[in-house]
């Protein structure tokens, strides 16, 4: 299964991240995962929240340049070699990973993966019995 991620175009401007996150706070939306990367001119903020549809709609209403796209979230045990093994499954199937973010706590790791072919990536996860999470599961993790 795949889940929705919101990508936001961020101009490199002091305080812009605060402004965007405060939009979500005022709408009572909790951010579950977030990552910001930057180039010299702009950044992309990627977020997963407790209510993606509403978050997306509110951001658009505030004239934020944002897109919604699919990612797959996988839960694995947090032990040596797990990340490596999981990624290998995609490599063996010939799937390119465009970007990924992951974090570990309570002996579990969660990987959020974006591939250029999400349908195939999802198929690989199912075939290999990887523990993909739904949005609801991610929220209650």
């Amino acid at each position: 299964m795949t889940i929705n991620q919101i990508s936001i175009f961020l101009e490199n401007k002091f305080g812009r991240l605060s402004e965007i996150l405060s939009i979500l706070r005022h709408e009572n939306i909790r951010v579950i995962a977030a990552t910001v990367a930057d180039t010299s001119d702009y950044g992309i903020l990627r977020i997963i929240t407790t209510d993606q549809q509403k978050a997306f709609q509110k951001l658009i209403e505030h004239k934020v340049s944002a897109n919604m796209n699919e990612v797959v979230a996988i839960s694995v045990d947090s032990c040596i070699g797990q990340l490596s093994e999981t990624i290998d499954k995609f490599t063996q199937a010939g799937i390119t990973i465009e970007y990924m973010y992951c974090f570990s706590f309570n002996q579990k790791s969660i990987l959020v993966i974006r591939s250029s072919n999400m349908a195939q990536a999802n198929e690989v996860a199912q075939k290999n019995n990887l523990n993909t999470l739904s949005e609801a599961e991610l929220i209650n993790f």
């Binding site: 961020l10 101009e11 702009y42 992309i44 004239k63 934020v64 340049s65 897109n67 974006r114």
Partner: protein, 437 residues
């Protein structure tokens, strides 16, 4: 039936020889009137110009040029050619430095001007059954009253909404069933945004059908965007306060060049440096002589606007020559690293990208003794933000196309929607921070 196509068929379709005969006659008459102005009486003496000495259009070459500076240094009424009791209105340009330029009008001048504007509007399909809303500033700015009297002469219902307050504009458009709008292009874009923010689709929910776009040079791409946003036909209008205001030249339904009304002005296109005529069809500065104005005639007025005559006849049947879309103003031109650049060239490229919005800003600065040009452009609705490669490729492609057009490589910066300040007046497109500029 041909007569329904033209406001004044005889004048609009007059044969070239007859039109030239009319021009010579009117030029002679105008010289006669202008002899009464303090300014031109001296000029004419110096250059041996008399009404009788005008035999052909070539005689115009003997006249010296009139510039904005001449108007300023004879502020306010030094060029007025009729007794002041015949003057009924003055208009003035927005002079940011020194004296503004003033143009005085008699009642006859105003009537002729209204007729000229009515002719333009009629040409693009406006009729007395239309509801015309004018979003121009009224007052001294000619886009307000100029269109007002023209549209009244045409017999349309006029809505003198004036500038700004977009929600109120939209309320009028909805309540009065407005069919025709006059707006500057940057404001038309702004208005579309407000429409969509309010959840109204101007293509379906209004009766709008024609836009008259004026006062700012704009690209064909920007016109097409405005046409798509509103589901209307948009026509380019050229005017300037020194030449009355709107209505000097106007596109016909062919949307291929603006007919310049040669029974009102004699147009010349000259090399801005040598001031000699350019070969037919080449770009140069538009120089105009009024031949249907009494209170303040102007001879060989340097407009600083760059354009060219479109060679050949127009399928619409009008014999008045067509000016091409304006290339900018000779004084808007920016020189970066020795290259002459007009903002409109950059706009044309940016508008070709569907991923981009309509607002942009060109900044020029000195970086380690070199000119550096930065083009900031807002991203649009349709941009895909999910990955860097796409954004970077987009930036690269914009840079490449700009380089092909202006022959130097600007720094292209994508910025968020709404981050470039938008005015409800003329848009500021260039900021030059270089020393010595």
């Amino acid at each position: 039936m041909a007569s329904t196509e033209y406001w004044n068929e005889e004048l609009e379709t007059m044969s070239r020889p007859n039109l030239e005969k009319l021009q010579i006659e009117r030029l002679r008459k105008t010289v006669e009137i202008a002899q009464n102005s303090p300014y031109y009486s001296e000029v004419f003496k110096k250059y041996n110009i008399t009404p009788e000495s005008i035999k052909s259009l070539e005689d115009l070459q003997r006249f010296p040029f009139t510039t904005k500076e001449d108007l300023r240094s004879h502020y306010p009424f030094g060029l007025v050619s009729v007794p002041m009791e015949k003057v009924v209105r003055v208009h003035s340009s927005s002079g940011t430095t020194g004296n503004p330029t003033v143009v005085a009008h008699s009642q006859r001048d105003l009537d002729q001007w209204a007729d000229q504007v009515a002719r333009c509007m009629y040409m693009v399909g406006c009729r007395n059954t239309d509801v015309f809303q004018n979003t121009s500033g009224y007052g001294m700015f000619t886009g307000g009253l100029g269109y007002q009297y023209g549209a009244e002469k045409l017999g349309a219902v006029t809505v003198p909404a004036a500038a700004g307050n977009s929600k109120r504009q939209i309320k009028f458009i909805m309540d009065f069933g407005t069919t025709i709008i006059h707006a500057i292009p940057s404001y038309a874009t702004r208005l579309a945004e407000v429409f969509y923010e309010m959840g109204i689709d101007p293509r379906k929910d209004t009766k709008l059908r024609i836009f008259c776009l004026g006062a700012e040079p704009h690209s064909e791409e920007q016109r097409q965007r405005i046409e798509q946003l509103f589901g209307i036909k948009a026509y380019n209008c050229f005017g300037m306060s020194e030449m009355n205001g709107p209505g000097v030249a106007f596109e016909c339904k062919e949307q291929n060049g603006l007919h310049i009304w040669e029974d009102f002005v004699i147009p010349e296109i000259l090399d801005p440096v040598t001031l000699q005529p350019v070969p037919e069809g080449e770009v140069g500065e538009l120089v105009l002589t009024t031949i249907n104005r009494e209170a303040m005639p102007l001879f060989r007025y340097r407009t600083r606007d760059l354009t060219r005559f479109i060679p050949g006849d127009c399928p619409c049947g009008r014999t008045h020559r067509r000016l091409d879309r304006f290339k900018g103003r000779s004084d808007d031109m920016i020189i970066v690293k020795g290259v002459n650049i007009f903002p409109i060239q950059i706009e044309r490229i940016l508008m070709g990208f569907k991923e981009l919005g309509m607002n942009y800003l060109i900044t020029i600065d000195t970086v380690s003794n070199n000119d550096e040009m930065t083009v900031e452009v807002e991203v649009g609705e349709d941009i895909t933000i999910s990955d860097y490669t796409k954004l970077q490729n987009l930036t690269k492609e914009i840079t490449r196309q700009l380089k092909d057009e202006i022959l130097l490589t600007p720094r292209v910066k994508l910025v968020e929607k709404g981050s470039i300040p938008q005015s409800e007046g003329k848009a500021v497109r260039v900021k030059d921070f270089r020393k010595n500029h």
